[in-house]
Amino acid sequence: MTTAGPVDAAPGDTLPPLVVRMTRLDLVKYAGASGDFNPIHWSERFAVGVGLPNVIAHGMLTMALAGRLVTAWIGDPAAVVGYSARFTRPVVVPDDDAGVELELTGTVKAVDAEGDGARIATVAITAAVAGKTVLGRAVARVRLPV
Protein backbone atom coordinates (compact mmCIF):
# COMPACT_ATOMS: atom_id res chain seq x y z
CA MET A 1 0.00 0.00 0.00
CA THR A 2 1.39 3.36 -1.00
CA THR A 3 0.51 6.22 1.29
CA ALA A 4 -1.12 9.35 -0.05
CA GLY A 5 1.35 11.29 2.10
CA PRO A 6 3.39 11.14 5.28
CA VAL A 7 0.79 12.78 7.55
CA ASP A 8 -1.01 9.49 8.18
CA ALA A 9 2.12 7.34 7.89
CA ALA A 10 1.83 3.92 9.50
CA PRO A 11 4.08 0.87 9.67
CA GLY A 12 3.90 -1.15 6.47
CA ASP A 13 3.28 1.86 4.21
CA THR A 14 5.43 1.97 1.12
CA LEU A 15 6.88 5.16 -0.30
CA PRO A 16 6.41 6.12 -3.96
CA PRO A 17 9.32 4.38 -5.75
CA LEU A 18 11.98 6.37 -7.54
CA VAL A 19 14.48 5.57 -10.28
CA VAL A 20 17.54 7.81 -10.55
CA ARG A 21 20.06 7.69 -13.38
CA MET A 22 23.75 8.07 -12.55
CA THR A 23 26.34 8.92 -15.23
CA ARG A 24 30.01 9.89 -15.17
CA LEU A 25 28.87 13.52 -15.33
CA ASP A 26 26.97 13.04 -12.06
CA LEU A 27 30.12 11.64 -10.42
CA VAL A 28 32.12 14.66 -11.58
CA LYS A 29 29.44 17.07 -10.34
CA TYR A 30 29.32 15.29 -7.00
CA ALA A 31 33.11 15.33 -6.68
CA GLY A 32 33.08 19.09 -7.13
CA ALA A 33 30.08 19.73 -4.90
CA SER A 34 31.29 17.46 -2.10
CA GLY A 35 35.05 18.02 -2.28
CA ASP A 36 35.67 14.26 -2.56
CA PHE A 37 38.21 14.01 -5.38
CA ASN A 38 39.29 10.42 -4.77
CA PRO A 39 40.36 9.32 -8.30
CA ILE A 40 38.53 5.98 -8.05
CA HIS A 41 35.43 8.09 -8.78
CA TRP A 42 36.67 9.69 -12.00
CA SER A 43 39.85 8.00 -13.33
CA GLU A 44 39.48 4.60 -14.98
CA ARG A 45 43.26 4.27 -15.05
CA PHE A 46 43.48 4.76 -11.30
CA ALA A 47 40.41 2.66 -10.48
CA VAL A 48 41.64 -0.33 -12.48
CA GLY A 49 45.10 0.14 -11.01
CA VAL A 50 43.76 -0.45 -7.50
CA GLY A 51 41.80 -3.52 -8.58
CA LEU A 52 38.35 -2.11 -9.29
CA PRO A 53 36.50 -3.15 -12.46
CA ASN A 54 36.14 0.52 -13.45
CA VAL A 55 35.23 3.93 -11.99
CA ILE A 56 32.76 3.56 -9.13
CA ALA A 57 30.26 6.04 -7.73
CA HIS A 58 30.95 7.74 -4.42
CA GLY A 59 29.10 5.77 -1.75
CA MET A 60 28.01 9.14 -0.44
CA LEU A 61 26.48 10.01 -3.82
CA THR A 62 24.50 6.78 -3.85
CA MET A 63 23.40 7.54 -0.28
CA ALA A 64 22.40 11.10 -1.21
CA LEU A 65 20.40 9.91 -4.22
CA ALA A 66 18.69 7.25 -2.11
CA GLY A 67 17.80 9.95 0.41
CA ARG A 68 15.72 11.65 -2.26
CA LEU A 69 13.19 8.84 -1.96
CA VAL A 70 12.52 10.06 1.56
CA THR A 71 12.81 13.82 0.99
CA ALA A 72 10.44 13.59 -1.98
CA TRP A 73 7.94 11.82 0.28
CA ILE A 74 8.26 14.10 3.31
CA GLY A 75 8.65 17.30 1.25
CA ASP A 76 11.10 19.14 3.51
CA PRO A 77 14.65 17.72 3.92
CA ALA A 78 14.87 19.52 7.30
CA ALA A 79 12.49 16.83 8.60
CA VAL A 80 15.19 14.17 8.23
CA VAL A 81 16.68 13.71 11.72
CA GLY A 82 18.79 10.65 11.01
CA TYR A 83 20.09 8.76 8.00
CA SER A 84 22.46 5.80 7.82
CA ALA A 85 23.56 3.22 5.28
CA ARG A 86 26.14 0.54 4.58
CA PHE A 87 27.93 0.51 1.25
CA THR A 88 27.62 -3.17 0.44
CA ARG A 89 28.36 -3.25 -3.31
CA PRO A 90 30.35 -0.79 -5.43
CA VAL A 91 28.31 0.89 -8.15
CA VAL A 92 30.37 0.73 -11.34
CA VAL A 93 29.49 3.61 -13.65
CA PRO A 94 30.44 3.03 -17.31
CA ASP A 95 31.88 5.77 -19.52
CA ASP A 96 28.77 6.15 -21.68
CA ASP A 97 25.67 8.32 -21.85
CA ALA A 98 23.34 5.76 -20.29
CA GLY A 99 25.16 5.30 -16.98
CA VAL A 100 23.32 3.15 -14.45
CA GLU A 101 19.87 3.27 -12.95
CA LEU A 102 19.46 3.31 -9.19
CA GLU A 103 16.12 1.74 -8.23
CA LEU A 104 14.78 3.03 -4.91
CA THR A 105 11.96 1.74 -2.75
CA GLY A 106 11.09 2.34 0.87
CA THR A 107 8.86 1.05 3.63
CA VAL A 108 7.76 2.67 6.88
CA LYS A 109 8.99 0.34 9.63
CA ALA A 110 7.81 2.26 12.70
CA VAL A 111 6.18 5.47 13.82
CA ASP A 112 7.20 6.61 17.30
CA ALA A 113 6.04 9.52 19.44
CA GLU A 114 8.74 11.77 20.83
CA GLY A 115 8.55 13.54 24.16
CA ASP A 116 7.76 16.87 22.50
CA GLY A 117 4.74 15.47 20.71
CA ALA A 118 6.55 14.98 17.42
CA ARG A 119 6.15 11.71 15.57
CA ILE A 120 9.21 10.11 14.01
CA ALA A 121 8.88 7.63 11.15
CA THR A 122 11.61 5.08 10.60
CA VAL A 123 11.89 4.33 6.88
CA ALA A 124 13.88 1.39 5.49
CA ILE A 125 15.24 2.14 2.02
CA THR A 126 16.30 -0.36 -0.60
CA ALA A 127 18.64 0.79 -3.36
CA ALA A 128 19.45 -1.53 -6.25
CA VAL A 129 21.29 -1.44 -9.55
CA ALA A 130 20.27 -4.07 -12.13
CA GLY A 131 18.30 -5.82 -9.39
CA LYS A 132 21.22 -6.12 -6.97
CA THR A 133 21.16 -4.11 -3.75
CA VAL A 134 24.00 -1.63 -3.34
CA LEU A 135 23.15 -0.25 0.11
CA GLY A 136 22.60 -2.28 3.26
CA ARG A 137 20.53 -1.29 6.26
CA ALA A 138 19.70 2.09 4.73
CA VAL A 139 17.41 3.76 7.25
CA ALA A 140 16.10 7.31 7.52
CA ARG A 141 14.37 8.77 10.56
CA VAL A 142 11.91 11.49 9.61
CA ARG A 143 9.88 13.94 11.66
CA LEU A 144 6.29 13.69 10.41
CA PRO A 145 4.13 16.76 9.80
CA VAL A 146 1.56 17.48 12.50
Binding site: V20, D26, K29, Y30, G32, A33, S34, G35, D36, N38, V50, G51, H58, G59, M60, L61, M63, A64, L65, G67, R68, V70, T71, A72, G75, D76, P77, A78, V80, V81, G82, Y83, S84, A85, R86, F87, P90, G136, R137, A140
Partner: protein, 149 residues
Protein backbone atom coordinates in the same frame (compact mmCIF):
# COMPACT_ATOMS: atom_id res chain seq x y z
CA UNK B 1 50.65 5.04 13.16
CA UNK B 2 46.89 4.79 13.04
CA UNK B 3 46.57 2.62 16.17
CA UNK B 4 48.05 5.41 18.28
CA UNK B 5 45.06 7.64 17.44
CA UNK B 6 42.39 5.26 18.72
CA UNK B 7 40.39 6.76 21.57
CA UNK B 8 41.64 10.23 20.75
CA UNK B 9 40.13 13.32 19.15
CA UNK B 10 42.01 15.42 16.62
CA UNK B 11 42.22 19.18 17.12
CA UNK B 12 38.92 20.80 16.13
CA UNK B 13 38.62 22.20 12.61
CA UNK B 14 38.59 25.86 11.76
CA UNK B 15 35.03 27.17 11.52
CA UNK B 16 33.31 26.12 8.28
CA UNK B 17 30.70 28.48 6.92
CA UNK B 18 27.83 26.68 5.18
CA UNK B 19 27.59 28.75 2.00
CA UNK B 20 24.27 29.43 0.36
CA UNK B 21 25.68 28.72 -3.10
CA UNK B 22 27.39 25.56 -1.79
CA UNK B 23 24.03 24.31 -0.54
CA UNK B 24 22.54 25.05 -3.98
CA UNK B 25 25.47 23.37 -5.76
CA UNK B 26 25.20 20.27 -3.56
CA UNK B 27 21.41 20.08 -3.96
CA UNK B 28 21.77 20.30 -7.75
CA UNK B 29 24.58 17.69 -7.79
CA UNK B 30 22.43 15.14 -5.97
CA UNK B 31 19.21 16.18 -7.71
CA UNK B 32 17.49 17.22 -4.49
CA UNK B 33 14.28 18.80 -5.74
CA UNK B 34 12.99 20.40 -2.52
CA UNK B 35 12.75 24.14 -3.10
CA UNK B 36 13.81 24.87 0.50
CA UNK B 37 17.32 23.74 -0.54
CA UNK B 38 17.64 26.13 -3.49
CA UNK B 39 15.03 28.92 -3.21
CA UNK B 40 15.49 31.35 -0.34
CA UNK B 41 11.91 32.64 -0.49
CA UNK B 42 10.58 29.08 -0.35
CA UNK B 43 12.86 28.28 2.60
CA UNK B 44 11.72 31.34 4.55
CA UNK B 45 8.07 30.73 3.67
CA UNK B 46 8.48 27.26 5.21
CA UNK B 47 9.77 28.84 8.43
CA UNK B 48 13.48 28.28 7.89
CA UNK B 49 16.09 31.01 8.50
CA UNK B 50 17.91 30.22 5.23
CA UNK B 51 18.37 27.42 2.68
CA UNK B 52 18.13 23.93 4.17
CA UNK B 53 21.23 21.77 3.63
CA UNK B 54 20.27 18.33 2.19
CA UNK B 55 20.55 15.38 4.65
CA UNK B 56 24.05 14.29 3.58
CA UNK B 57 25.48 17.81 3.07
CA UNK B 58 27.83 17.38 6.03
CA UNK B 59 29.88 15.10 3.78
CA UNK B 60 31.23 18.30 2.20
CA UNK B 61 33.26 19.09 5.31
CA UNK B 62 33.52 15.73 7.11
CA UNK B 63 34.88 13.70 4.17
CA UNK B 64 37.66 16.23 3.43
CA UNK B 65 38.52 16.22 7.16
CA UNK B 66 38.78 12.43 7.00
CA UNK B 67 40.93 12.66 3.86
CA UNK B 68 43.30 15.20 5.41
CA UNK B 69 43.81 12.81 8.32
CA UNK B 70 44.02 9.46 6.55
CA UNK B 71 45.94 10.49 3.42
CA UNK B 72 48.85 11.69 5.56
CA UNK B 73 51.61 9.07 5.00
CA UNK B 74 52.68 9.46 8.65
CA UNK B 75 49.33 7.97 9.74
CA UNK B 76 50.15 4.71 7.96
CA UNK B 77 46.76 4.18 6.29
CA UNK B 78 46.62 2.94 2.67
CA UNK B 79 44.32 5.67 1.35
CA UNK B 80 44.54 4.50 -2.28
CA UNK B 81 42.92 1.15 -1.42
CA UNK B 82 40.41 2.50 1.06
CA UNK B 83 36.69 1.88 0.74
CA UNK B 84 33.87 3.54 2.64
CA UNK B 85 32.04 0.86 4.62
CA UNK B 86 29.16 2.71 6.20
CA UNK B 87 27.95 6.16 7.13
CA UNK B 88 25.42 7.70 9.47
CA UNK B 89 24.18 11.19 10.21
CA UNK B 90 22.26 12.14 13.33
CA UNK B 91 20.85 15.66 13.12
CA UNK B 92 20.54 17.47 16.43
CA UNK B 93 18.92 20.30 14.47
CA UNK B 94 18.63 21.16 10.76
CA UNK B 95 21.78 22.49 9.07
CA UNK B 96 21.23 25.81 7.29
CA UNK B 97 23.14 28.06 4.91
CA UNK B 98 24.87 30.69 7.02
CA UNK B 99 25.66 28.27 9.83
CA UNK B 100 29.23 28.38 11.04
CA UNK B 101 30.29 24.98 12.33
CA UNK B 102 33.32 23.38 13.93
CA UNK B 103 34.07 19.67 13.44
CA UNK B 104 35.94 17.49 15.89
CA UNK B 105 37.09 14.14 14.51
CA UNK B 106 37.16 11.28 17.01
CA UNK B 107 39.02 8.05 16.21
CA UNK B 108 36.69 5.60 17.92
CA UNK B 109 37.76 2.11 16.92
CA UNK B 110 40.28 0.17 14.85
CA UNK B 111 39.85 -3.51 14.11
CA UNK B 112 42.03 -5.83 12.07
CA UNK B 113 40.54 -8.85 10.34
CA UNK B 114 41.58 -10.97 7.41
CA UNK B 115 44.30 -8.60 6.23
CA UNK B 116 42.00 -5.58 6.37
CA UNK B 117 41.80 -2.65 8.77
CA UNK B 118 38.37 -1.34 9.86
CA UNK B 119 38.41 2.19 11.23
CA UNK B 120 35.42 3.90 12.84
CA UNK B 121 35.53 7.69 12.83
CA UNK B 122 33.03 10.03 14.50
CA UNK B 123 32.59 13.66 13.58
CA UNK B 124 31.00 15.87 16.22
CA UNK B 125 29.77 19.04 14.54
CA UNK B 126 28.80 22.04 16.67
CA UNK B 127 28.10 25.69 16.06
CA UNK B 128 30.65 28.27 17.17
CA UNK B 129 28.79 28.63 20.49
CA UNK B 130 29.42 24.92 21.10
CA UNK B 131 25.81 23.83 20.60
CA UNK B 132 25.63 20.40 18.87
CA UNK B 133 24.40 20.46 15.27
CA UNK B 134 24.99 16.92 14.05
CA UNK B 135 26.98 13.75 14.63
CA UNK B 136 28.37 11.83 11.68
CA UNK B 137 29.90 8.38 11.99
CA UNK B 138 31.68 6.40 9.33
CA UNK B 139 33.51 3.12 8.82
CA UNK B 140 36.49 3.05 6.49
CA UNK B 141 38.29 -0.10 5.37
CA UNK B 142 41.70 -0.57 3.84
CA UNK B 143 44.34 -3.24 3.42
CA UNK B 144 46.67 -3.78 6.35
CA UNK B 145 50.01 -2.46 5.21
CA UNK B 146 53.08 -4.64 5.42
CA UNK B 147 55.78 -2.25 6.54
CA UNK B 148 59.21 -2.82 4.98
CA UNK B 149 61.73 -3.27 7.73
Amino acid sequence: MIAEYVGRALPSSRPYVVGREKVREFALAVGEGALVCTDLDAARAAGHPDLVAPPTFAATFTIPAMEAFLSDPAVGWDYSRMVHGDQSFTMHRPLYAGDEVVTTLHVDELRSRGGSLFLTLRFEVADTAGEPVLTAQALFVTVAAVEPS
